[in-house]
Subunit: 240 residues, 2 copies
């Protein structure tokens, strides 16, 4: 069910976005050498990125969607080469119900896996954070300054990851999903959805390649407050 050669690649860590390290530290051209599918954010936390078939799209807080150039610097992103191992049809499921169903059916709770959902949603609710300028606020403060978008009968693609609790800090434990509709007009970090008819694709990973921005002085010198970080990650991810 799993293919040992498959890996997921992450640049940056969520734990360093939390205190406000939002500067871009890797060129998209370099990131996309490690995958054609994934999610992330842009410098200044300026919107929500989704990578589909090698094209990076950014959903901005003003609701507009644009493609990003290969020269764009990003602070945090996760990508992989899309080669699903599991596929099934889903109908009438909420995001929560689908997430639980996956973990009940597949023994994936201790590993990273990618989720892709292609189809029609009765309802899709997303958010996009507003671009920030230095001095950057914390992730929790930014998550409270966001635009929320909704679309009924939306057709599009969900891409994202499940991270096991063992790796909380490196990534957000649990599901982290982004969306882009087929018209490329609406999307973002998903707050909730209800599937009408869709195909769900899962891709478990044996290997996680974690890349850190070792040439970024601010990252290298940062003193993390780990005591409160877990709670802050939870709070920022759940903000709506």
């Amino acid at each position: 069910m799993t293919k040992d050669g498959q890996k997921v690649y992450q640049h940056g860590t969520l734990a360093l976005l939390v205190p406000g390290l939002f500067d871009g530290t890797m060129k998209l051209a370099e990131l996309l050498a490690h995958g054609d599918t994934g999610i992330g954010t842009a410098t200044g936390l300026n919107g929500e990125m989704i990578v589909l078939d090698g094209t990076p799209y950014l959903v901005q807080a003003n609701g507009q969607v644009k493609t990003l150039s290969a020269e764009t610097m990003i602070p945090f992103a996760t990508v992989h080469f899309d080669q699903p191992q599991v596929e099934f049809a889903a109908q009438g499921l909420s995001m929560q119900a689908l997430g639980k169903q996956i973990l009940a059916k597949y023994p994936y709770h201790n590993i990273f896996f990618a989720v892709k959902i292609v189809g029609k949603f009765k309802h899709m609710q997303t958010r996009a954070v507003e671009g920030q300028v230095k001095p950057y606020p914390t992730l929790v403060e930014v998550a409270n300054k966001q635009a929320v978008f909704e679309e009924a009968d939306s057709q599009g693609t969900v891409v994202g990851y499940f991270a096991p609790e063992l790796f909380q800090g490196m990534a957000a434990a649990g599901y982290h999903l982004h969306y882009l509709n087929n018209a490329k007009k609406m999307g973002g970090h998903i707050l909730g959805f209800e599937i009408d008819q869709a195909q769900v694709y899962l891709q478990p990973f044996a290997t996680i390649e974690q890349h850190l921005p070792v040439d970024n002085q601010e990252f290298m010198e940062h003193q993390a407050d780990l005591e409160s970080m877990g709670q802050q990650i939870k709070s920022a991810e759940e903000a709506d």
Copy 2:
């Protein structure tokens, strides 16, 4: 100071040794394709492994040191290709003093780096845990059943890693060092040392490649008790 291409490779995670998942899940031959230098343990937690110049040695609880065959299965190990970026001479330093000095001098506290120390030690104290059979006890219980070895005026090599606090669980935060003397007769997991004269080599990593035993059913189905895990890791690492 850092070279972006360099990576450290880890098979298994410390967080899964803690509750007693000690079965070997990767062949040494496969592990050593990812590095010629490193540390680890054997199936059943049967001793302390150190890899020097591509040769894996196991220090057993009976004090004997043996080389391991390429077919040996191991549950947890970390390796890299030895290409130090920093080198300095050290005299008269304890393990604690050296550890602090490194972090005071180099901005490495948020990244993984390898430590190699080659030279003469006024005093070296190590431990090796006893091999366990199923049903395996927890790591804390095993750490309390160990042999302690001491050698004065010991000449040999220290190999190990520093893991940042951000990655506690995946690895033990802080330093984790193993030792083998030049005679290949004494070594193990280091409890303490005092350097007489030695060269210290550091190798920072931009990339951490974390491999999980996705074909091991026990790992895949394990329900981790994360509440107490951090404390248990600390307790097991500090046992003496």
